[in-house]
Symmetry: C2
């Protein structure tokens, strides 16, 4: 599954770099049928998801990926994949990073991938 892992790495590198520098640009990764569950609240579609992501109440944010796992997600041989991330979120320069878990399902689309499923949770100890 080397290929899956390298797709997952490329995607998460791009996703978190974009999130941390230009959140509005994340909209290119979602489609009309995309779903986001953010801390238990549900959002759908490009506009709904982008509005949520861009309105999160912090100025500066940095994601540091700790673990990254990927598996093929289709039982019928499509090249979709599930990506599971755990990591640390440094918000507005805080000395206390927050632990997070995030999962994506990526669906192939015109030579690239879009995010169909996105579930984000902070992990409180």
């Amino acid at each position: 599954m080397a290929d899956i892992n390298s797709i997952a790495k490329q995607f998460t590198d791009f996703y978190y770099q974009t999130f941390d520098t230009n959140r509005a640009a994340l909209q290119s990764l979602y489609r009309a049928n995309s779903m986001l569950t953010f801390e238990g609240s549900q959002f759908a579609g490009v506009a709904g998801i982008t509005e949520k992501l861009t309105s999160l109440p912090f100025e500066q944010v940095q994601h540091k990926v700790t673990t990254l796992d990927a598996q093929p997600s289709s039982t019928t041989g499509e090249s979709s994949l599930i990506v599971s991330v755990t990591g640390l979120l440094v918000v507005d320069g805080s000395q206390n990073p927050l632990q997070f878990s995030q999962i994506f399902q990526l669906i192939p689309d015109s030579g690239s991938y879009y995010v169909f499923n996105d579930i984000f949770r902070l992990n409180y100890g």
Copy 2:
């Protein structure tokens, strides 16, 4: 998505209760095409996954679910779902529970579901 959430709750209640009392019985939840990524190591199929789960080196274990999220995982209307869990793992009565993240993709099969994708990670602070 009330129905999805209730399926996710029923599944995780059963999964963790079985894990904590009779791990070998988890084999009924996997199929020949199932995948498990456990702390970065990959296992596949009923026998491979069951052998890993039953050989984990602890006597007593208790999962406590903190958050549970679910989304439909099929772009074509199948009733498969992604379940994302965060929680605490109490191993051999330790005073220091370990934080974990686990995701499943459940695929419908003969009126029930089986686990196609399973990714487990401990989260170190």
